[in-house]
Symmetry: C2
Subunit: 118 residues, 2 copies
């Protein structure tokens, strides 16, 4: 699970859409941020990340990956520039895995107070 998290971060930094999608099960769900509409299934997830990758993202883990049972949680930062403004978001993501090691559920925890001018 820790290796999958590291692959996820690397794929985000490389704008590698198919590298990200490959980590997910076909019937996975993504709720990013928590409280927003849930993306259901791999095609919705691909479209969600394709939109996210329109901006070049710099992603860095902040601290160790917490992996236990069939779940993992990890804190990180995402930095990007939009219309000349640099922004840093500091989420905690939660992954749930199936027996094949694919992510079946991703939920991203961040609120307004975790979005910073950088």
């Amino acid at each position: 699970m820790t290796a999958v998290v590291h692959r996820y971060v690397a794929a985000l930094n490389a704008s590698d859409l198919e590298g990200i999608v490959a980590l997910y099960a076909d019937d996975a769900t993504v709720e990013d941020p928590v409280g927003s509409a849930v993306q259901n299934g791999i095609e919705a997830i691909r479209a969600f990340y394709a939109n996210s990758l329109k901006l070049a993202l710099k992603v860095e883990l902040t601290g160790e990956v917490r992996a236990v049972a069939n779940e993992a949680a990890f804190a990180f930062t995402v930095s990007f520039e939009y219309q000349g403004r640099k922004t840093l978001i500091a989420p905690i993501d939660h992954f749930r895995f199936n027996d094949a090691g694919k992510v079946v559920s991703m939920r991203a925890f961040f609120g307004q107070q975790n979005i910073h001018a950088a």
Copy 2:
């Protein structure tokens, strides 16, 4: 929710059992660590923390609290000494809140790789 997390950390540091229990709803659940037996209801939760507080714990947030919708996630460290050995654990906790602002679900994410000799 962020204030509740700070009260939780302060109560752990103060070994304030009733201060911790007061943050939870009567029908709350605690799964600490994820994958272990779930503590169901406030009496089971009180017994769980009473046991945890047999050791003096030093708890420190590592990074900002992520609070969104009715949930919060936060990374922290817990340090303690047991039989002369200093140990540091680095969990991420997930709280879910009810409309009254009480914690109804706590899940603690940490695995063997998050337990360190300190």
